[in-house]
């Protein structure tokens, strides 16, 4: 038995050695290098920013959670972009710091929320709509922003290497962020119930069914409201 364990642990050890060798050898290439990191960030940012463009123009195709896109939608509907801009950019700021310190950039906070919602909200707040209205421009804007973010991260990495391993409370924020996402489901049901009685019923049923299926309640609430909205339309001003 002990022999087995020993053999096994040796195997694991040699396995770990071989993988670390492998990654060290491969680090020089494009796929593992520091210099290529901004390129990857740039590509994904171009896609995500253009996704926000699609949302702005066609109302489909944004990459974020419903709760976060709802912040942007509230701005587009005339409620002011302050919250979306502040929320998105502060997340971007926090994630850039965290990403360079821990070695994993969190796409959700930095690119999807920061570049995909925060920066567009900033642009719309100052009435600079062109990058969001035009697809090629959206791609270019996104890729430049991504390149900047990527270089900042690699820069901070060089600057603070080994000096810190704090996550700056990212876990606290992540917890609060996830919790606020949970609030959206009940809030949508409440809002549907104030819109009209049939839509309210639809939303309640949808939310209950989705909860039962272990799917997000917010999605069920919206879909339920839409289904009943087919038969009992309400005036949209």
């Amino acid at each position: 038995m002990d022999e087995m364990n020993e053999k096994h642990s040796e195997e694991v050890k040699s396995h770990i050695d071989s993988t670390s060798n492998e990654s060290q050898n491969a680090e020089k290439g494009f796929w593992f290098a520091d210099w290529s990191f901004p390129i990857f960030v740039s590509l994904i940012s171009a896609g995500v920013f253009a996704g926000t463009h699609m949302y702005y123009v066609y109302h489909v195709g944004a990459f974020n959670e419903v709760a976060v896109i709802a912040l942007l939608q509230a701005g587009i509907a005339g409620g002011g972009f302050g919250a979306a801009a502040a929320f998105g950019t502060s997340f971007l700021f926090a994630r850039i710091l965290e990403g360079s310190l821990v070695g994993i950039l969190d796409l959700g906070g930095s690119i999807l929320t920061g570049l995909g919602v925060g920066i567009p909200a900033l642009m719309l707040a100052v009435n600079f709509k062109l990058p969001l209205e035009n697809f090629p421009l959206a791609l270019i804007t996104g890729s430049i922003l991504g390149l900047v973010v990527g270089y900042i991260i690699i820069g901070i990495r060089k600057f603070t290497v080994g000096s810190s391993n704090s996550t700056f409370g990212a876990d606290v924020m992540m917890g609060a962020g996830n919790l606020s996402g949970k609030f959206l489901g009940p809030l949508i049901v409440l809002s549907a119930c104030s819109a009209s009685i049939p839509i309210g019923f639809g939303s309640i049923t949808g939310a209950a069914i989705f909860y039962f299926w272990k799917k997000p309640v917010a999605g069920g609430a919206i879909l339920g409201a839409m289904v009943l909205g087919i038969f009992f339309p309400i005036g949209i001003k």
Binding site: F37, I44, V60, G103, S191
Partner: protein, 261 residues
């Protein structure tokens, strides 16, 4: 016509996001020596499926239906597309029994290629199906969504973040309260202030006042001063304390075109 445009744009966007998300996910396995891109939960979930093609696929599929519901209802994919569906399905393409995961899941090149293909298919499918929903139905979704979002922005999120800051320790609580309150006064929403308060409080808790935390603190102060200035907060403040606004400050605001009522 619109549908063709949506398809073309979706293919480009899906390809870009899929390529980068796939490569970033594979790079995560080599962190911290290599800078990865994804998230800790993605890393954990990919590890949990451990290179088994069927587990990767079914894990992604579960979230695919979530993403579909949210795309049809609200026009947005949920973060699951980039965090879960693309990485897991990209991995499912390469993982086979007997193949070591170092050559599949941990290989950025392979993951980038399969990620690109998965991204194109998923994004095009989600966008085309949600674009096919009639306008009037989307209008209902928005009419229901926007009031809920407004409630979420204020007061639900500020309160939740604030409480999280208070629970995270004395220093975080104090900084969260001060910056949160100031942010509500200056920017009209407490969330960014509370977030920055958590950032500074936790940073100081864990590292003390080093070069990094001091830089952070100073840049937060600059951020507050600048946004206060450009929103004309200083003018309103002086007026409401009945102190009178000096002419040069008024002039400076007019010169910079920076608000103030």
């Amino acid at each position: 016509m619109t549908l063709t445009l949506i398809l073309i744009e979706s293919i480009i966007i899906g390809g870009l996001v899929g390529f980068a998300a796939g490569a970033g996910a594979a790079r995560m396995f080599h962190a911290p020596t290599v800078q990865g891109m994804g998230s800790f939960r993605t890393l954990g979930e990919l590890n949990a499926c451990a290179g088994d093609s069927a587990s990767h696929f079914s894990f992604g599929l579960g979230f695919f239906f979530n993403a579909w519901a949210s795309a049809v209802g609200a026009g947005t994919f949920s973060q699951d597309v980039s965090h879960r569906i693309i990485p897991n399905w990209a991995a499912a393409v390469w993982c086979r029994k007997g193949k070591p995961i170092e050559t599949t899941l941990h290989n950025p090149k392979k993951m980038a290629i399969s990620g690109m293909v998965v991204g194109i298919i998923v994004v095009s499918f989600l966008n085309l199906t949600s674009a096919a929903i009639p306008q009037s139905l989307q209008a209902i979704a928005i009419k229901v969504l926007v009031p809920a979002a407004n409630l979420l922005i204020n007061p639900v999120m500020p309160v939740l973040f604030w409480l999280a800051a208070l629970d995270a320790g004395k220093r975080t609580g104090v900084y969260g309260t001060i910056f949160g309150g100031l942010a509500h006064l200056i920017m009209g929403n407490a969330v960014p202030g509370v977030v920055l308060g958590i950032l500074i409080g936790k940073g100081v808790d864990e590292n003390g006042w080093g070069r990094l935390t001091t830089t952070l603190f100073v840049s937060v102060i600059i951020l507050f001063v600048l946004s206060g200035f450009f929103r004309g907060f200083d003018l309103t403040l002086l007026q409401q304390f009945k102190l009178g606004v000096p002419g040069w400050l008024q002039g400076l605001h007019q010169m910079m075109g920076a608000g103030g009522k």
